[in-house]
Symmetry: C3
Subunit: 138 residues, 3 copies
């Protein structure tokens, strides 16, 4: 069994941002030399997400509006978590979007459907945060 581990770092300029990381994850897979297996990609922070969806800017704006509706950022006082922090909404938004994806590795490639792209979803940005890529297989 082979295994591979790498951290990807991100620092967004705004509080919330969606970044397509499919190319970076595919690069990890290539470095690993693994041909068949499973790839885990997860946010290492609890106010961020790794998810799979469509790379379409209208949809990404829809996500922003929709998540603000389900878990509004303000007023900060609406959340008990916001004593010393102001990011309770980010914990909830990331819960909706998910912490991680597991992707099949087949013939040395990410075994994704035609429109599947991997995204980093940042909900409390403007600081350095990490994504973990772990691959096991042969």
């Amino acid at each position: 069994m082979k295994q591979f581990r790498k951290e990807l770092w991100f620092e967004t300029h705004s509080r919330r941002q969606i970044i397509n990381i499919t190319g970076q994850v595919a690069q990890c897979l290539q470095e690993s030399g693994i041909i068949h297996g499973l790839l885990l990609c997860n946010a290492m922070h609890i106010t961020a997400s790794v998810f799979i969806n469509d790379d379409e800017s209208g949809l990404h704006q829809d996500f922003e509006v929709w998540l603000e509706g389900l878990a509004p950022e303000k007023p900060y006082s609406r959340y008990k978590h916001n004593g010393y922090e102001d990011n309770a909404d980010a914990h909830l938004k990331r819960t909706i979007m998910g912490r991680e994806v597991v992707v099949a590795v087949t013939d040395g490639k990410l075994d994704l459907g035609p429109w599947e792209q991997i995204f980093y979803g940042e909900f409390d940005g403007k600081r350095k945060k990490r994504v973990l890529v772990k691959i096991i297989g042969e």
Copy 2:
């Protein structure tokens, strides 16, 4: 390490439908000959879901009503994604329900709890779409 890969195809007659695929996934596991490992089952389309819950028709109706409340299909104009498309709600509904499940394989069987069943959740159907089953183990 052994590995197995198979695609399952579905074409629903309605826009939204929930289909129990536990038997088909168990059949994949049997074909694989894998005794201990991990099984990934994921929608290959970004407007569909694979999830685990109860095979109870009342609950499935509850899911329909609940998801329509959280991410209504109409009016289509409420979503920016719906320029050439009308399926933004399906992207959001699938986000709630999840893209994938990972199931333990133990003694050659799906290691599920007593009521756990695997479902394909279609939110933009009436066309052929795929689910991926990938298994690694021994």
Copy 3:
């Protein structure tokens, strides 16, 4: 390839409760002797969740209020599932929180970010229920 399987049992005193199980999961990993691999931790019941977030009591109260807003427990008659049962809301709440987490195993340890903790989320408690830990690797 090595593999390890263990069930963790929980019985909460209230209908809903969040329990930090990171220590018990780490103990499983130690028992397994696995150094590099993937660890699956999933609820074996469809009204409970395993998820990763922050171990902060204010946030856990926010989850309670937020989930009650998205999928209220009462009136029980609002859900079709609630014929003989009263736990439809628990199926929906667990859907939001997620069934499972997959965690990387690196150098014999749970490869978690600094604030990542693993939780059992119970949404229909007061009875014995199980979590599955399955680890594969070397």
